[in-house]
């Protein structure tokens, strides 16, 4: 049993400045697996700078890891042969944030559908290709006669984003990596796009990695959630458990700050207030220590392991729970696998 996609202890470090002295750790020792046997929707939640987009780019092979390895079906993603790369490009699809930038404005939108059809030889004839395109559009709730032959600027952001979902579907992938797919789409269309993505998962058994800053949509679509902060996992596990009863101070702060569309559930009720500050002793300890309202001495010394605060439902990387059984960070994939098989 090999995973389709796997990150094993992957770090990504960006060096900027003339001498490369300014170092940003975008992702720090991350392990994650997407398994073919158990399709799930995993939401990666984090603010800007949490490394969530870097995580997506590493899995898509857009970036090489600084250390650790990204695998596609057990093979190093940076060393695939031509054939393997082609299979990879078919099995792993991406949906990005900006539904305009994904199109070439000089071509009709048909282009984004015909290119994968011809590149991967999905159709035997023109009529066959047309039928495939229409099926894909219908599956995401679009009327083909309103879409085909149009230019991108003639369609709304929501329509454009759904065409991208349709294209992803056309290839019958095993995995879809969706990086903020609804953040540039109007509220009234978000639900429709999320529904299309959810249907792909449900009907075709596609695993989805839903990368977002928005906990409300992550809660809605994700069976499991991984909360990232400055490149490290803060909390991970079953969505309902984490959102209803967060254990890590960062997750609590995050959930308390979410403006839920419900006037009776006020935000900012928790007494936890983030602190401003620089990290004493650099980044050796917990990444959140500098802002954590409940920080302790030991938080500055070494990063906490993942504590299994609720048995098999969730892990939290915080010394507050140090009486719970600890799990090494490299074991996160196994843990998430048993979370998803339990639900």
């Amino acid at each position: 049993m090999t995973a389709i996609l796997e990150l094993r202890n992957v770090s990504k470090i960006y060096k900027t400045g003339f001498w490369g002295h300014h170092v940003t750790v975008a992702l720090d020792g991350m392990s994650l697996e997407i398994d073919e046997a158990r399709p799930t929707i995993t939401a990666i939640v984090g603010e800007s700078g949490s490394g969530k987009t870097t995580l997506g780019s590493l899995l898509l092979g857009f970036l090489p890891p600084t250390s650790g390895t990204a695998f596609y079906r057990g093979k190093d993603l940076t060393k695939l042969s031509r054939g393997e790369r082609k299979a990879f490009r078919r099995e792993v699809q991406a949906i990005f944030q900006d539904p305009f930038a994904a199109y070439n404005p000089f071509y009709t939108v048909d282009h984004v559908l015909t290119v994968p059809i011809s590149r991967f030889k999905l159709a035997r004839s023109k009529a066959d290709a047309r039928r495939l395109m229409e099926e894909a559009l219908l599956a995401v709730g679009l009327r083909p006669e309103e879409i085909l032959g149009r230019f991108p600027h003639q369609l709304s952001g929501g329509q454009r984003q759904r065409i991208i979902v349709a294209r992803a579907m056309l290839l019958k992938p095993k995995v879809i990596i969706a990086d903020e797919p609804v953040s540039m789409v109007d509220a009234s269309l978000r639900a429709t796009i999320l529904e299309s993505i959810y249907k792909l998962h449900n009907d075709l058994g596609i695993s989805v990695l839903y990368i977002t800053h928005d906990l409300t949509t992550a809660y809605h679509i994700g069976a499991q959630i991984v909360v990232l902060y400055r490149g490290s996992v803060m909390e991970a596990g079953d969505t309902e458990t984490i959102v209803q009863d967060p254990q890590h101070p960062y997750t609590r702060l995050l959930i308390d700050s979410v403006p839920w569309p419900d006037p009776d559930r006020r935000w900012g009720q928790s007494e936890l207030k983030p602190r401003d500050g620089d990290v004493p002793g650099g980044d050796r300890g917990c990444k959140f220590a500098a802002r954590c309202p409940l920080v302790m001495e030991q938080c500055y010394d070494a990063p906490p392991p993942l504590y299994q605060t609720d048995g098999t439902k969730r892990v939290a990387a915080c010394y507050l729970w140090n009486q719970a059984p600890a799990l090494g960070r490299e074991r996160l994939p196994d843990f998430l696998a048993q979370v998803s098989s339990a639900t």
Binding site: E47, A191, V243, P259, P261, D264, G268
Partner: protein, 352 residues
Amino acid sequence: MTGVAEPTPPATAAGPISAPAAAPPRATPPPVEPVLRVEHLSVSYHTDAGRVRAVDNVSFDLPPGVRMGLVGESGSGKTTVANALMRLIKPPGRIDGGRIVVDGVETLPLSNEQMRQVRMRKIALIPQGAMSALNPVMRVRDQILDGLLIHEPRTPRRELERRVENVLVAVELDPRVARRYPHELSGGMKQRVCIAIAVAMRPQVIIADEPTSALDVVVQRQVMETIGRLQRDLHSSIVLIGHDMGLMAQFVDRLAVMYAGRLVEVGPIREIFREPLHPYTQLLISSLPVLGKRGVFRGIPGVPPSLLAVPPGCVFHPRCPQVMAQCPQQIPPLVQVAPNRWVACHLHEAAL
């Protein structure tokens, strides 16, 4: 008890912004004259493809001390309303007609110079995207002073500089930020500087156009709390413009819903969430992700109309699940159906 307008904690009530003159007492306002009145406002953009009516016959009142949200999808005209209130519509845009009364002053007939006196002093804007609203080659102090110097040329500079420091403290920034340049500040800090510029003259009406759309949720909450505290301290009114219904639910007292340039519903936020009257508002609210209802997706079918070819009659009728025979024929007027509740829908005209 989680009332909408809870009293300010005493610690923050004595913020420096309320120091020079005691803030007006919050309790027992006299029979309220609205601090902002908008009547039949229409704005068009004249483009090569034809005239686009971005704001069509919009009317609303805003009593003092009230936070009103203005929600709509992109292209619904909400930012155009904000610009019209500030009288910042530039060609090819034009205000076609209507009346705007800010704190007793009718602004549309004013000369440009007179309008300059009204801006900042009576009505101020917190712009969208603080990143691009600040001048990158001016220190923060000079950007805040800029407006103060124009409005109060006779006040000694030292006095104005002291006010700059006070207003920075009021938006919870270190006064030393005054010496910095925008690129030295984080996104949240830049947004706070924009808020400081907006409230420096203690305006009665603050227009906030998606003030936190570029910020992370934790920072967003902190910035909105600051805006809310300043609004209470100054006893100003706020028009918060945006598309995030969650933010509206958390922040405003009253909500106005725009669709394709028209107001379709206005009412107290709780009542709108509990019982939305207009079918568009109903669909909008049922499309929102709420706690406890995981995996239920309900989008609004169809797409918003192009403003170049607005449907006849009610603008929402092509997408409306409850469309009736008269909907494509007649534009439903915005009528009052209950105290503080207005709706523009033929379904609710009978309620009168």
